[in-house]
Symmetry: C2
Subunit: 408 residues, 2 copies
């Protein structure tokens, strides 16, 4: 009983399967399941034509998935066309769920998400975790996890893994938080607290927020985008071709230190005029004339909603700076869209106009019809939690055989 999810390290990487016959089988199981989760209820014939296999082959694959409680048969489709109607297949109500957990600076949250992508159970707790020692926090989180898993189990669901979103840097393919400045944690292995039988994975919350956007963010979900959030500093996550770009050392997405004005104020990073000096939480609060302390972003949003002119001015300036920095990213990556997520989505109404103006101006290449569009995440601050739970679901979709073997 290994503690890692089957086949590989991080949740993001699809398992490497050798080109052997069993490998083919596993990949085909995954293709069938993914086609059905992605494109609603489908008949066997529809799946077959979609993934390029024959109906007979799909039939055996579907049988296997049904036996594993991953699919259920809805019965005959409503016939709109000639021919015998197919039998609609969809993912079952009772089957595996992914457990997602989030350690925020002022709250803990856990949820269970099924293969449909629906939240089936959740629990959360307000608690100021800044500078608090890790032990009690993690014990509380473990309690919430148990709450959600038992609730799931009694609803006939089978937790398939636990993924934790952390506001900090996480060592690749490990359970270790390297550094979480807002919590004051460093070099902390979460395994001992959270490993109770479930495969565990830990990842940065900005990354998971971006993945949530990729998996459930839109219809259709964008496959190439830059996701900007502002949980710790200003984090961006880059998704290319439906895959999260993590970088060689795992540091990709440091939008906060993009140069905005090369001779601007010095930044602790060693550079000058980094974006964080203009659009970072501290800088914006100072420009808005507000104290730097807890709940800064919420305070900004509240004041802006009330029409505070100085706050709105500060947000406009921050939007401009963001636009300048993002224009660099857009010119370099040519993404489908830029997504404002996390806490930024609340501030979007005041950031967007200046941001979009600056971005449009600087990406209007004569050859490029139009610069990237900017969208605001529907998920808001729920992104990281949902992304965590979904990362477990994706692992199941990527290799259904693994959970099918685990059960009966």
């Amino acid at each position: 009983m290994t503690t890692e999810l089957p086949g590989n390290g991080g949740f993001g990487d699809p398992a490497f399967l050798p080109n052997t016959q069993q490998g083919i089988r596993r990949r085909n199981l995954s293709l069938v399941l993914q086609a059905i989760t992605a494109h609603g209820p489908l008949s066997r014939a529809a799946v077959a034509s979609r993934i390029g296999l024959t109906r007979a082959a799909v039939s055996t694959l579907v049988d296997e998935l049904i036996r594993a409680d991953l699919l259920i048969e809805l019965g005959p489709e409503r016939p709109g066309t000639v021919g015998r109607p197919g039998s609609a297949l969809t993912v079952g109500e009772r089957g595996p769920v992914g457990i997602g957990a989030e350690i925020g600076v002022d709250h803990l949250a856990v949820c269970a998400v099924d293969l449909h992508g629906k939240v089936r159970a959740r629990a959360s707790l307000e608690s100021d975790n800044r500078g608090r020692p890790p032990e009690p926090v993690l014990k509380e989180l473990a309690r919430l996890v148990r709450e959600v898993t038992t609730a799931s189990r009694s609803a006939g669901l089978r937790p398939a893994g636990l993924a934790v979103a952390v506001p900090g840097l996480v060592a690749r393919d490990s359970h270790t938080v390297v550094r979480a400045p807002n919590l004051g944690w460093s070099e902390l292995d979460l395994g001992p607290y959270l490993l109770d039988g479930l495969p565990l994975s830990v990842d940065n919350e900005a990354n998971l927020g971006a993945l949530a956007e990729l998996w459930i963010g839109g219809d259709p979900a964008p496959q190439d985008f830059v996701h900007v959030s502002a949980e710790i500093g200003i984090g961006a996550a880059v998704v290319v071709g439906g895959r999260l770009l993590r970088g060689t050392h795992g540091f990709a997405g440091e939008l906060g230190h993009m140069p905005v004005r090369p001779e601007g104020p010095a930044c602790p990073c060693g550079g000058r005029g980094c974006l964080e000096q203009y659009a970072g939480e501290e800088a914006v609060l100072r420009a808005a004339g507000l104290p730097y302390g807890e709940g800064g972003i919420g305070l900004l949003a509240a004041r802006a909603e009330n029409g505070d002119a100085q706050v709105r001015r500060a947000l406009r300036a921050a939007g401009s700076a963001l636009g300048i920095a993002l224009s660099g990213a857009v010119n370099l990556l040519d993404p489908q869209t830029v997504v404002l997520g996390g806490a930024l989505s609340r501030l979007a109404p005041w950031l967007l106009p200046s941001l979009e103006r600056e971005l449009a101006r600087r990406t209007a290449d004569p050859a490029r019809p139009k610069g990237g569009t900017v969208t605001v995440s529907r998920l808001g601050s729920e992104g990281p939690l949902l992304g965590a739970a979904h990362s477990v679901v994706r692992a199941v979709l990527d290799d259904p055989a693994s959970v099918a073997g685990a059960q009966r």
Copy 2:
């Protein structure tokens, strides 16, 4: 009958093969061939353990590849260890070659590269192609191509495809040059001139230069890097996980319009203070006190080599600007390395110090041990040509069955 996996076609993207038995076979042929080209001569057993198949399976695959003239048997390996020595396999001397062609502003070049990566034939022609009508240029190029293909054929080699590097924007999966400002071409289909039996592909020269770096640029070749060249404007190509990032509209890599000083001089792109205003060919020549005309970069290099102080100063300033822009890219992407390629490699001695200083200063995050390193391409201005030829070779490596079927 449509498959939903990402459609493709260009040489760069490995062909999508369905998870059917023939698909497996083709993938396994590719795995065997790639293992052998990548890791020197190998025995069947070594290949088997490397790609996760059994020796028996590899034997049949190797037989097929030998019959197709893609592999040859070198005979028994020198035994350094216990056990029967294996029989070394390597790619054959006579087999398929990729034909690469380059349309530069002042020259045409064609070469043939075998599966080893060795150049087996080449031809080139100096000619000032700026503003020249396409017909005569392409007729000359076609002549060079015929020269190289006949030379290859008489050496027992089999041309497997033609790839053309063009200094301009190319429509995806087509033979059409959308816009090549330095040549004065636009909306031009190269197919009619160059299609004489060989599969044809056309791509941007900066992209092909970056791919050359990926495929033959180093030992080991980096898999995640930003490749900067300066053929048209300042082009960067981003390679992530061994794949070229092309962007949603094919515009990725526009480093030239990264903001360096947001209030700087206006740029034709509509922005202000873009990198091109500081490190573009025209700007550098002006700062160096040289006329803007043909051979600008060569002139700069010659003067700098002779110790011209004003030129060197101009290059130092350009290096700083490049460093600022690249620090943004490095912060965002966390690449293994930044590669200076194309004509920039000649200027590297004078660009590098200021570039590296600026880059190091702005990427020294407390958490990041060190910023990205900067390297200079070994390939220099040969990159695009070699990359073009190699793109054909890669297509063969990615699907050996395609050429194996073609011959017999």
